[in-house]
Symmetry: C2
Subunit: 217 residues, 2 copies
């Protein structure tokens, strides 16, 4: 594929567009694994439930992809999206909160296969500290700043109870963490220069009851 | 608030709009809890990272909310969104897969507080069956169809290994389940009349590396 990739360093791409790119990537990868080589913005839109115009607009921030009327070459678009999202390198990830959910996260194979390697884990519970889980030794909270800084960790996952989430995230940020995936079901405030994503299954459930009630499903 | 709610029974609302409504609801609820009474589509757009025009268009599917130039009355909009999404009733939920993640889900307080009550749990592991977790007795997989049907469960959460997810979801669908929240990191195929949401922390991680690489955060 011969798309040209714009230098987006000084172009302000809306964050909502960046948030959609991994969804495009996931869908394109699925199509490639099904043996499909080319996809139109309309077909992609049907799969992702977006208008073809929105997809073309989203991708146009990064250059010209695909040829008019010919659709996108899937392998080329995957490669370029991975470059844009910086997914061709390994990212170190810290995890705070090693309860049931934290242990499930530590044993989840989907992170490292996608280049996200959990290299440090922390818990406030003394009985947990020093245990090995998934090849990682659980560290006490008072070592958090030191280890985050020494390892150069910029991404953390928080799986702590809701009441502790804000203070833990504050400490992560003051230790140099830039991006946080939060599992606690509570509104978290972060400075403008920090990226926060909330994993919230209730939001997913709440968009399905509409259809059950309506009798459409 | 005196907005009029359209009868949307015969209006085709794009699914992407329905998916956004719980996000509006979550943000509006947070604003209300901060003591704020009225919000403009621009302020809401800044918080949700969407254009004010898109927010007004999304809400227009369901009637007229807010007054020109006056913004939305938050308490009224919350009430109407909860009615649209059918969130004023209790929904029974089944859970399949009681490993670490499944146990974390069973002990998660955020479901029942939002009206989603886990009433049945299933696992294929004989040593798990019969155990009580979070007040629920774990049932064997061969009782799945019988219990789902007897309880009238229409919503299920799957927390099974990737290799088993498709077959478990097929069985849920043939047992009458209409809506599924899937935690397995694998592409699942469902008929058009079934709603599927995937909970995928990797997608969240992949939209943050862009900013770290770019040096913006």
């Amino acid at each position: 594929m011969k798309g040209s990739v714009k230098d987006s360093t000084y172009t302000e791409v809306p964050e909502v567009v960046i948030i959609r790119l991994p969804q495009y990537l996931r869908t394109l990868t699925r199509l490639r694994n099904q043996g499909i080589d080319v996809v139109s913005s309309r077909q992609l839109g049907d799969l992702i439930q977006m208008t073809p115009a929105q997809i073309r607009k989203d991708l146009s921030y990064f250059g010209r992809f695909g040829k008019q009327g010919r659709g996108y070459t899937i392998s080329g678009l995957i490669k370029q999206l991975r470059t844009i999202l910086a997914l061709n390198e390994e990212w170190k990830v810290g995890l705070v909160g090693i309860g049931r959910l934290g242990r499930a996260i530590l044993s989840y194979p989907g992170f490292s296969s996608e280049g996200f390697k959990i290299v440090a884990a922390f818990d406030s519970e003394p009985s947990q500290v020093g245990q090995m889980v998934g090849g990682i030794m659980i560290q006490p909270m008072h070592k958090l700043a030191e280890i985050i800084s020494a390892e150069g960790i910029q991404i953390c996952i928080t799986a702590v109870p809701a009441d502790f989430a804000q203070s833990v995230i504050d400490e992560l940020i003051s230790s140099g963490v830039k991006s946080i995936v939060n599992y606690a079901p509570v509104g978290i405030q972060v400075p403008d220069d920090i990226k926060l994503r909330n994993i919230d299954p209730v939001i997913a459930l709440q968009s399905m009851t509409y259809y059950i009630k309506k009798g459409c499903v």
